[in-house]
């Protein structure tokens, strides 16, 4: 089982959120998700300044075998996207919680992570999903 950072918030659909000092949120996909997907070959990112609705798709990660939607866990606005992934989608495989981040979100409400999982809950979730 891959290490699950304890300072992040998780979704049951394998996204993670990190709260930055300036109140923005970084969105990515978990190491467990990447393990299941295999090598990523293409990442489709949203337009900066576009509006995000919690629970709706905001990006697509494509591996050699399948395309998967990435859902924004929160309402907000796209502040920036990880442009490096355009040429190097493999960064998501290599460093899913760091250089492989996808979207920087300016959340509509700060500090609200209702319904998200902490590292322990996420670990239980992927354990029970087998």
């Amino acid at each position: 089982m891959s290490d699950i950072p304890t300072d992040l918030h998780y979704t049951e659909t394998h996204e993670w959120l990190r709260e930055e000092d300036d109140g923005s949120l970084l969105l990515g996909v978990t190491a467990h998700a990447v393990e299941l997907l295999g090598d990523l070959v293409y990442v489709e990112l949203p337009e900066p300044e576009s509006e995000l609705s919690g629970g709706e798709a905001c990006a697509v990660v494509e591996s050699t075998k399948a395309a998967s939607d990435v859902y924004s866990p929160v309402n907000g606005v796209v502040e920036a996207v990880n442009e490096a992934l355009n040429d190097s989608p493999e960064l998501v495989n290599q460093d899913p919680y760091g250089a492989g981040w996808l979207v920087r979100i300016r959340p509509a409400t700060t500090g609200s992570f209702d319904g998200l999982l902490d590292a322990g809950q996420y670990a239980n979730h992927i354990e029970s999903a087998g």
Binding site: H14, E15, G38, Y42, K65, A66, A67, D69, N86
Partner: protein, 380 residues
Amino acid sequence: MFNVAPVHFIRDEESMERKTALYAEHVAAGARIVPFAGWLMPLSYGSELAEHRAVREDAGLFDVSHMGIADIEGEGAGNFLRRLLANDVARLTVPGQAQYGVMLNAEGGILDDLIVYYLAPGRYRVVINAARREADLNWMRRRGSAAVRIVEREDLALIAVQGPRARERSVVEFPEAIKGGVLDLKPFTAAERGDWMVARTGYTGEDGWEVMLPADRAPSLWRGLVSMGIRPCGLAARDSLRLEAGLNLYGQDMDEATHPYESNLGWTVALEPRDREFIGRDALERIKSEGPRRRLVGLVLRTRGVIRHGQVVRTADGSGVVTSGGFSPSLERSIALARIPAGEACEATVEIRGRAVAAAIVKPPFVRRGKLLVTLDNQT
């Protein structure tokens, strides 16, 4: 984020799927195991892109023991296969020669694609797709006679060693009895010693071997080949390699509803000699004289994105469908096989997740023997 059902990733010790003689090797190597055509097979051993590149640049190793192997024996074997297959085994005159071809139904629809090895007078071996094994053998047995024996060889394992350095590096691991002379084998020929057979064939577009051997000997050969630095490769790399090589996958790029002339396989149909009555011949002659209505082409995506199986393709000649799509690690862009209406169109758009994306229509293969065979430089 998943539309990938977790069931594809089970590693269930009690599942109904069969395991090859090399299953324990795959698990020990940390392979992601998936059910495939009734078998538990390795999808990848970590990085399918690295596995793909190993085969293009160096050497890779595949367990393809799930494929069906059957020996066709007896004084009627040759004539039996001449009636059953669209290619003509009478063209195989020297023991060891191999031939690729298709088995058709009476309407000219493709029942399976296969390789036939001519081993000795009255003795042939066919290698068929895992998913078609039972259907093929039933079809064959219903058309057999007392002069033909069809012997399934479930006692054999099948290992493919593929890549520019595959042959020379792997040969030291072969038994003494078969080692001598195999490096002199020409493409599409094989050598047989006892229950071992080494063939210079494959499904990757690279040089290499397919080795048939007693299943209980497979683990030690596998470990020996790994110790020679040959990289284990899973089904994911096998699929991207064969797609780059423009090789059809049965059930995706062709099936009973398609015929060879709309599947890039006209070259495997032997209409001469004209008095050879093979199953599907009448249908194929009619299709040929009328001209096929569809063609199987290659697509190269002009921008970023990934073409997938089932997506709609639009051309000046009408609409078609992607039969196999994916990312080409060698071209570093997406490629596909697509069946479209017959015509001269050389540009297409592919409907990818609600967007129409431009693609060039090309003649496969895309890559062969490590060389890129398509370029967009003068077109973009």
